[in-house]
């Protein structure tokens, strides 16, 4: 009994164990720099945007649709918000317009995928390029100045329990998505579409509608992520596309956690922060610039490979266990004096 629990725990929560061991290792290695509240707060806040983007990527991915334009969308939203504010619009207007831009791009992606029947991979890859072009048109390819507006920066940098409030926003978004995906019909339909679109259609699921909605949701989340980034770090011409791979990496890694085999909210969030912890720790040890890229990519491949192997090995171990138990059973039923096996020590 204990053995089984331990097994399950290690498969489904390996990310938590990994996270704990990373924290312990770096705390011993860099005792003065790593285990500090400043480190915790900065990692939490700096990765919040990536976490929101990962959640955005995850929604259409559950339904079997890729949104590769999400980084470009977020970037465009960031620059739109900044430009609107520097041109004298109110913060409310800037936030709403930037998020709507994200939603609109999602809607266009949905139109291309659902109505024009272009594969989502191609459609959003093309859209990412188009958005990069739009961004150059809008900005003239020069980075706009940061708005010098304290309310604007306070939007994400207000402290709550020592953390910047952006961390709270991210957690609220995650909670809402967790509810929507796990506890509402819409979420179920999305998982069903991802499992078999034709079976879903024949079970009465409006596949086109939900596919479209999932892309609008990812666009909207990209818009939100863009606004949060603009307020947290100011304008940037290139951060968005650079966050695309980490977002996908987190979602794939996350699908090995909590409910293995399924893309899920808390798995994705966990993956973001496990990777962030590893990168942060290594950055304190050495300050080479390629760490983040190397760590995200390598961890993605390694973790997914290990998770797959572990599941196969687990199934084989259970089978052997069963054979052994049956043998015990057979022997004792044949009248041989066999000890009750003491749960095999």
């Amino acid at each position: 009994m204990i053995g089984i629990n331990r097994n399950l725990g290690f498969d489904r929560y390996s990310g938590l164990y990994l996270w704990a061991s990373l924290i312990i290792v770096f705390s011993i290695w860099q005792p003065r720099l790593f285990p500090t509240s400043a480190t915790v707060h900065s990692v939490a806040a700096n990765r919040a945007v990536a976490a929101v983007l990962a959640l955005g990527v995850m929604i259409p991915l559950i339904g079997g649709v890729f949104d590769l334009a999400i980084g470009a969308t977020a970037n465009l939203a960031t620059l739109s918000a900044v430009l609107l504010i520097t041109n004298g619009h109110s913060i409310a207007v800037a936030v709403i317009v930037a998020i709507l831009i994200g939603a609109l791009i999602g809607a266009i992606n949905g139109f291309i995928v659902v109505r024009l029947r272009v594969g989502s991979f191609i459609a959003t890859l093309g859209m990412a390029s188009v958005l990069a072009a739009v961004q150059i048109i809008v900005t003239g390819n020069s980075q706009p100045r940061s708005p010098s507006n304290s309310t604007w920066t306070a939007l994400t940098q207000t402290k709550v329990l020592g953390f910047q409030i952006i961390v709270l926003y991210m957690l609220i978004i995650a909670a809402v998505l967790w509810w929507g995906l796990r506890h509402t019909p819409a979420g179920r339909y999305l998982y069903a579409i991802g499992s078999s679109p034709e079976a879903a259609r024949l079970s009465g699921v409006r596949v086109d509608f939900y596919t479209w909605m999932s892309l609008i949701a990812s666009g909207t989340l990209a818009g939100i992520a863009g606004v949060l980034y603009a307020s947290l770090s100011g304008p940037s011409l290139s951060y968005g596309p650079a966050l695309l791979l980490p977002a996908f990496a987190a979602v794939f890694l996350g699908s090995t956690q909590f409910s293995p085999g399924r893309y899920n909210v808390w798995g994705s969030i966990l993956a973001i922060y496990v990777l962030a912890t590893g990168v942060k720790g290594l950055q304190l040890v050495t300050d080479v610039v390629w760490l983040d890229l190397m760590f995200s990519g390598g961890a993605l491949i390694a973790a997914v490979a290990v998770a797959g192997g572990r599941q196969r090995a687990g199934a084989e171990a259970k089978r052997r266990e069963l054979v052994r138990q049956e043998d015990h059973h057979d022997r004792s039923s044949m009248g041989e004096p066999s000890a009750p096996a003491g749960e095999d020590g």
């Binding site: 506890h183 509402t184 499992s195 089978r319």
Partner: protein, 546 residues
Amino acid sequence: MQAADMSTPGALGPSVSTSALRIESLTKTFVGGRALDGVDLNIAPGEIHALLGENGSGKSTLIKVLAGYHRPDPGSLLQIGGLDLEVGSAHSSHALGARFVHQDLGLVESASISDNLAFGPGFPTKWGTIRSRRTRLRATAALEQMELDLDPGALIESLSPAQKTGVAVARALLADSVPDSGQPAGDVQLLVLDEPTARLPDSEVEHLLEIVRTVADRGIGVLYVTHRLDEVFQIAERASVLRDGVKVASEPVAGLTRDALLHHLLGAALEQPHRLNIADESSSAAGQPKATLSVDRLTSDVLTDVSFEVFPGEVVGVAGITGSGRDALCATIFGARARDEGTVHIRSEILPARRPDLAMSRDVAYVPAERKLQGCFLDLSARENISIANLRDFWRVPLLSRTKETAITKRWFERLGVRPREAIGQPLSSFSGGNQQKVVFGKWFQRVPVMFLLDEPTQGVDVGAKAELHSALFDAAQEGAAILMSSSDVDELVTVCDRVIVMRSGRIADTLHGDQINVHSITRSALGMAGDVVEPGSESANAVAS
């Protein structure tokens, strides 16, 4: 152990004495329990040996062990053509001369027939380049041998299920039947057919059986797995029955009766579900009950001008050979396939084309023939498979009620006898085919439909499960639901239907009532044979069976 004295089979005497297949005390344990337990089986060269068993009885596992896919528990003896099979090695299985046609045919859907026929034995090449003309010729020859009138360049995905089965059988026999393929004429010892007729219409079944006989005449042992008892009597010399992984019988067919076989299969006398006669209903027909389904001049790529009605409480069968439109009718009505013309009404409400969701809102249920692709979600749990079409029942703002969902899934598991009973949270892929189909039915029963559209509803389902599904359908009909059931299993139509529509070339060729509903007249009508001339040849098979 025995391997030592078996390594020199030639010394033991003439090859006549070596079995095509010899299995002793084969046991295979899975995570969930024992799939096979001490099974013995012996097939002589040239013998056709039927293997029967309910879903989950271990038939598929046995075959997968033979194919080298599963590794049996230690202590099992497996010999093909007198030589030890290296367990868990597909290569060894093939080298010893075992050939397989699996239930999941294992064809590459997006490739052509000739490519599929070349994947096993290899493409004929010249300097590394595929000689396409030769590949094509070889495919043509193989198809001709099966008398399949198909273009070798056609993609598998464009074929009907029956045609796909034909191609799969052709592929299994290929290396043996085409000696000039550049391969050594593979010495086939054993052909294993896993429910080859599950998707075949009767006309093609007869044809397949002939091919199987030819194969056996060449001295090849045939292990023939089937759910259709009639075929056992038509073709097999001996029959073995598996129940819960244990072999319960292995007898010559000559001494067997249908009842004896059923007894072996089920372990108890089978209670055939008989529905109450709907005579009382037709007597009330004076009051003109309103048709549940009325189809008017329905036309699509494979249907022409199809009009008929189905009344409440009626079970209407759709028969027809492959390509007759039989396999497209239900899908077209439901909206799974496109229509060109014609209207469909459910209780006077119109059913628009290509809108399964609207069809469902009008209380129509549809069970597609291709279960794995269209009927269910293999990587979702059984619970989610049942609830997916019924989420409104479980939606208690702001949450889906997990408790109610589990309770209802449990109810259908018990009602339809889905096994294993406690696995409601497991992915559907971990269930056997028959149990998956029961889960699909549970999903629809939960909606209490007024109209059931069923394509091959009991395909690949064992006798016991079939009876359970039928009786559940009869209960629904008793409650006033109308049922339209398309099936290539004519026996099933005869057992279940009040009326049978026979399709031919996309049109309704005949409608059979009452006494007209028998295997013989349905088959004749489907093939378009006019008149009442009784051919003794085609009768004899059924006579033996009964």
